[in-house]
């Protein structure tokens, strides 16, 4: 018994006297990086622009921006640390932004540190800037009173939640990157207007930026990744086929000959398969179940015939949009849809290198079949 007591006392003594070994990271001593912008400046140096939170009892200013230069991301952070009295820590980074020029050279070497660091969240968002990341951050800071990091992060998060753009976390980027025959994409932020705006979707070849498609295509790409709900769709329809089904006689004949419809997607998903292995023939079935929210012209959708025509018209439009998007991506030779993955799965041996797919992708054919159903048109008289 006495021996045990001795052991306990001794170990307690050791535990308390050896605790200097663990380094503490008390929250009040830290500058917590919220958003990081990465740009390449001359001489291949990296410039990072950091939006940080710091908790200072003397200073009410909660967030500030510091920047640093270096050869590596961590090196640049160290450099930035010379300019602040707090310890810069990356554990709470919510958004990492890259300049477009930087992205053209490939992103992987810059996000390498995020992959390695277990303290860094995999669910942080990645985004591109139309110009440089620094621009977007500085301009947002100057242009508005809102907190930059929070604003930019929530801007993307909100749109991801609404299914307007696909999810673009670090995890998603890496998954599509390492998936052979599937290329990543990121949203592009621009500061053309005063406040930062989502402007396009950037397509990548592996980790290199190759071009961008308009933001309206984001939803079309998103359907390939997941089953979407609650997104809104806006289409422009020709008026010609609906002339018979207008509720009221139009007063002036010179009215517009297009109608605009805004619909809510109740359910949208896609199913792709390979139909002909030799000719690289693919088929994608896209299903949209929607309900009408707003219609600019008084088309009487209660009539089954009108509804049918409406659905046919929308199908045509979607088919055209998809074909255009597909053509664009083929021209850029970037496959955000993941046809390569389907090809690989069906291929004998099941192996496909990125290089192989780069050669094949511009030559594949996809037959888009759109299944569009108007489930509800709201209450109409």
């Amino acid at each position: 018994m006495r021996n045990i007591l001795k052991l306990v006392v001794l170990s307690l003594l050791l535990i308390t006297s050896l605790t200097g070994c663990v380094q503490t990271k008390s929250i009040e001593d830290l500058a917590i990086i919220n958003t990081r912008g990465v740009d390449i400046i001359e001489d291949n140096k990296i410039e990072t622009t950091l939006v940080i939170y710091k908790f200072d009892s003397q200073n009410q200013e909660l967030s500030s921006i510091v920047s640093g230069e270096g050869r590596t991301i961590k090196g640049a952070r160290k450099n930035a640390n010379y300019k602040t009295s707090f310890k810069l820590t990356p554990g709470q980074i919510r958004l990492e932004m890259f300049g477009k020029e930087t992205a053209k050279k490939g992103l992987l070497s810059y996000i390498d540190t995020q992959i390695r660091d277990a303290r860094v969240s995999d669910t942080m968002y990645l985004a591109l800037s139309e110009t440089t990341a620094k621009d977007v951050i500085i301009q947002t800071q100057e242009g508005s009173s809102v907190h930059v990091g929070k604003y930019l992060y929530e801007l993307i998060e909100q749109n991801v939640k609404d299914n307007i753009i696909p999810r673009v976390t670090l995890h998603d980027f890496l998954q599509t990157y390492y998936d052979n025959g599937h290329d990543p994409y990121l949203p592009v932020l621009s500061t053309a207007t005063k406040s930062p705006t989502l402007s396009a979707i950037a397509l990548f070849q592996d980790d290199k930026y190759v071009g961008q498609v308009p933001l309206s295509d984001a939803l079309l790409i998103n359907v390939f990744n997941k089953s979407i709900e609650n997104a809104t769709l806006e289409v422009q329809l020709p008026m010609q086929p609906f002339k018979k089904y207008l509720k009221s006689e139009r007063l002036d004949e010179n009215d517009e000959d297009t109608a605009h419809a805004l619909m809510k997607v109740l359910r949208g998903n896609s199913k792709s398969k390979i139909t002909n292995q030799q000719n690289m023939q693919f088929q994608t079935e896209i299903t949209f179940n929607v309900t009408m929210l707003e219609l600019s012209e008084e088309i009487d959708l209660k009539k089954p015939k009108a509804k049918e025509i409406f659905e046919e018209e929308v199908k045509k439009i979607f088919k055209k949009q998809y074909e255009q998007l597909f053509k664009n991506s083929q021209e850029l030779n970037s496959d955000p849809f993941g046809y390569g993955t389907i090809y690989r799965i069906n291929k004998h041996g099941g192996k496909l290198t990125d290089k192989e797919w780069r050669e094949k992708f511009p030559d594949i054919n996809v037959d888009f079949k759109i299944d569009f159903t108007l489930k509800g048109h709201g209450t109409t008289p």
């Binding site: 535990i15 663990v22 990271k25 008390s26 929250i27 009040e28 917590i32 929070k150």
Partner: protein, 502 residues
Amino acid sequence: MRKSRRHRNTQTKSIFPIKIDKFEKLLKDKFENNPDLIFSTFDIGGKKVCVFYLSYQVKTDRLDNFLLKPLLNISELNTPNVLNEIPIGGGSTTDTLEEILEDLLIGNVFVYVEGEDKAVFYLLVRKESRDLSKAENESVVLGPQIAFSESLITNLNVIRWSIRSTDLVLEKLMIGKRAKTEVRIIYMKSIVNDKHINTMRQRLQDLDLDKVDDTHVLAQLIEDSSSTIFPQYYLTELVDRFSYTVSQGRIGVLVDNNPQAILAPSTIFSFLESTEDMYMRWNAGSFLRILRFIAMFISIILTPLYVAAVTYHYELIPPRELITIGQSRAIVPFPPIIEALFLEFLIELLREAGARLPSKVGQTIGIVGGVIIGQAVVQAGLTSSILIIVIAFSALASFTAPSYEMGTTVRVIRFPMIILAGMFGLIGIMYGLCFLVIHVLKLKSLGEPYLSPIYPFRWDDLNKVLFRPPYAYQYKRFLSLRPKDLFRFKKSEAIKKHDIDE
């Protein structure tokens, strides 16, 4: 009692017959400097008779009316005649000094006729006790409010009335070498596992101590592990809890002069269940029980988690909360561990002060503690406002335990956990939790695993500890205890409806 008396008779020598003067001197010597022994000598019909007793242990009006008066009228005095003529039941005879002394103490009145070889005695005990009252420490909203009192006789009476069965055994044991205390082992003989009874009896009989002070002390004397912080027997003052537990096949132990009963074997879950779970409807009862489990977990884990997150793992804090926590931490000059220990200490001080103060002043503590100190501490920059909430939350959670001992245990466990969290972060918390789980796994209560039925796992018993099903599905007793009679009733009968209009 009779058995033990006969047993003793064979060993000691009779002191009778004896002269009354000599006898008086003998007794007075034994009760040296003790004025309470009343020794009166009468001369009736030429024969000397003495009556002696301890004045305050005896009901004097009964003594006067039913013993002395008839005694003086007896024509021919001898032992059989005394036994015959005196109108009090339960008269016995004895002839050894040890027995006389022992029985004097518990309120017997002795009559000795000079020259006879036996003394007659009657039990005219006067025992003062408080009336039965409401439970103070285990307060309940629903169900019977009555609690045990200090008098064993009253308690036995109450138990007999609540379990009216010939199955109920109230085994008597006398414990203590120097001062004996009556202890009763109470169980249902057709249900209880004999192993438990034998273990309990053997543990009580083997006790070699001068005097039993209190039920809590007795419980600690017969527990399985003395080094642990966890209580191993549930101590209750509620009669309904006692009778429910005993009727389900466990053992109750009552100690004279103590308003608490030991319930054994108890598992860790016994300390988290209240009789109210039974009285509530099953869904509400289950909710309350699960609430208590969560509360215990929160109580142990929440403050350490705060300390760990703020000291080491800032990544864990949700972004929106980060700013609030960060800003409130910025004004505090101490590291989080000191801050947390300081506030926990303050809460414990408040609790202890509240328990010690007379109830008239007790309210002040609530006001001082809750309102003034809470506000002032934050404004003085000694702790962050978030921590106040965290500490209050976990303190409140620890008070939900129906057992005061368990609540205290949980609060004490929190301190090492906070220190571990402050020194090693989440790893420390994990280490502490693993240690706790391993420790609890090894514990036993009256030889039964403390964590049963989780370990060893018994599917059938889960509905008695983790939640509470409707009564039709509680047709089995606690399987882990292996009672003699497992089934309370037939399930098929229980779920049958037997309404008149069907």
